[in-house]
Amino acid sequence: MALALAGVALLSVFPAVQRSAAQDSSAVDRGVRIGIIYRPGVRPGLVVLPGAAAPDSVRAIIARDLDLSDRFELITLPAGDSIRVSAAPLAGAGRPPAGGRGGAAAGLNYQLYQALGADFAVGLALVGDTTVLTVHDVAAGGVRREFRSRLPPLKDPEFRIAVHRLADHILEATLGVGGIAATRILFVMDGKVYAIDQDGADKRLVSSSDHQAMSPAWAPDGRRFSYMEFWSGHGQLFVQLVGPGKRQPVATTGQALDFTPAFSPDGKTLAFSRATEEGTDIYTVNIKDNCCLQRLTVGRFSDNLSPTYSPDGQRIAFVSTRPGLPQVYVMAADGTDQQLFAPFDYGVTGSSNAPDWSPDGQSVAFHRDVGGTLQVFVLDARTRAVRQLTSLGRNEDPTWAPDSRHVAFVSDRSGYRQLWIIDLETGRIRPLLQQSGARLPAWSPRIPETASSTP
């Protein structure tokens, strides 16, 4: 709290400095210190205002999303009643925002919330069937943004994702960054593909057949995903639409063991691993026209697998056993210029597998054998420095959130294997679902508004 208050004091002078610090602690603006000591880890305070108008569930989901974004100090109001009495009621919630510095027009006691350590205050009100979200800049003493949306009814499968989107609006309005509230994570359990909201709610089966499934992967548009199924010993890849659940087998696959599909950023190409009697190699296929199989690696005495595209589509990181044990390599998207990506000590470093390139292009997460168990590592794509992210229990199969700072992975730290999420900035870690057997997670991009949210 002391830190938060210091942050408030700082923010009241230089709000911009504080915001950029919260986004990325490595990108400190030089020349704006002026006698103020920069404190990484100090996050802006945010309060979700009480109010009877909006449904409790909406307020609760948003408050939780803001907390899980790991970008705010969420301020809990001590005794809600006294605050409400001292704060002027949100009389004009339905009115157009006063805008600018006319904070008083919104009827909020900014001094009070500032004293409590809030930099931002979020109000929710229901006007007719429209939910009005008001984002107050407490330090500036005014309304920063207002969003109006007609939420689907509570029972509607669209409801939660629509509320999550409101939480993402708040991040955009306050910090100018994209959130991860309106995202989902695919994973495999008992040979079937499931989806779950990033806050751990709404787990649902999205693909079930008599065939064992593996390796789900999202298309960059958030409307489709791909996965592999065993068909009489072969691996058949499918691309499935999120909404209607219709699926298409990927051409040329299914005759061999095809696995670990990965979409190119333009969504037109699917890279995958194919195991034949020659070994395992990486291929691409054009899924737009269902044609044009290309082989990218030729490793007669080594296996090449688990491709992941850089977000600019220029490069593919992958796993190769050419040094003996599997390690992380990189090549141009056409298969040329293959080279080692994540450095290792020959004969010392353990197997490295399951790379996933971050959406901002800066990092590649993967897991590596450390003393007989697996740990998640992050490779800096530019400097090629490798740092270990986890150390407790066995941790594997990392997948990046679209904000490139959260990573979901499989861990047995609680005694059984389940999905966890870590924030790389704060180090905060939380279980995604309390259920054993979940594995091979794939974090979605932000789910587009037009895509049906019922996978």
Binding site: F230, G233, G235, E277, S306, S351, A354, E396
Partner: protein
């Protein structure tokens, strides 16, 4: 078969009767039939009928024994098929993160070579499996290596490559469910199944 023996029987009886009638008694006038000779003829006729019946019975017994022998050998053949199948299904195992055939498993593969050679129509599928310790997706590639290693061994010992399919299930189909070395050792394996030509198998 029974009808055939009856026909044979009646044929023999007819021949016996004809033989009797062509063999007139020496001391009797043709006009006056001798009671003794009539009785003798009648006896001879009866004897030949009995003889023919006995022969038929003997033949029937032989036939029955032959049928029994065929049935027995068919059953024996079945036992062989079952035994060969069991031999063929014997698993081979691997060291952690390895796909080379262990020396002690080579004899198991030699047995399979012999079976494949003795049964030219037999086609098999080899599936490679891994323990849960490695990476899930890497294990698909490793299982593929394990199945391929076996195929290479069989082919290098003279088996036609087209008769052997290879697949990999990685760590997706464990035999033992435990989380210790005993279970892992069991799960690092190649399995063998018959794809075609396995109805009647000959012992090598």
């Amino acid at each position: 078969m029974k009808r055939l023996s009856l026909i044979v029987l009646s044929g023999i009886a007819a021949v016996a009767l004809a033989a009797c009638s062509h063999n007139p008694p020496p001391v009797t006038t043709p006009q006056q039939p001798n009671a003794d000779s009539v009785a003798a003829a009648e006896r001879a006729r009866q004897d030949s009928i009995d003889r023919a019946a006995a022969e038929a019975r003997a033949r029937e017994e032989t036939e029955r024994q032959r049928q029994q022998r065929i049935a027995d050998s068919l059953a024996a053949l079945g036992h062989t098929t079952e035994a060969v199948r069991t031999m063929l299904a014997t698993l081979i195992h691997f060291d952690y993160d390895k796909s080379n055939i262990r020396p002690e498993d080579a004899s198991i593969l030699d047995q399979k070579v012999a079976i494949l050679q003795a049964n030219p129509n037999l086609r098999i599928r080899v599936s490679g499996h891994c323990d849960e310790r490695g990476s899930d997706e890497y294990n698909l590639a490793l299982g593929n290596r394990r199945a391929t290693a076996t195929k290479q061994y069989l082919v290098s010992h003279g088996i036609e490559a087209a008769r052997i399919e290879t697949v990999s299930y990685g760590e997706e189909r464990p035999l033992a469910q435990g989380h210790d070395e005993a279970a892992w050792a069991q799960n690092r394996r190649d399995e063998f199944e018959i794809v075609a030509g396995g109805d009647a198998l000959r012992q090598p």
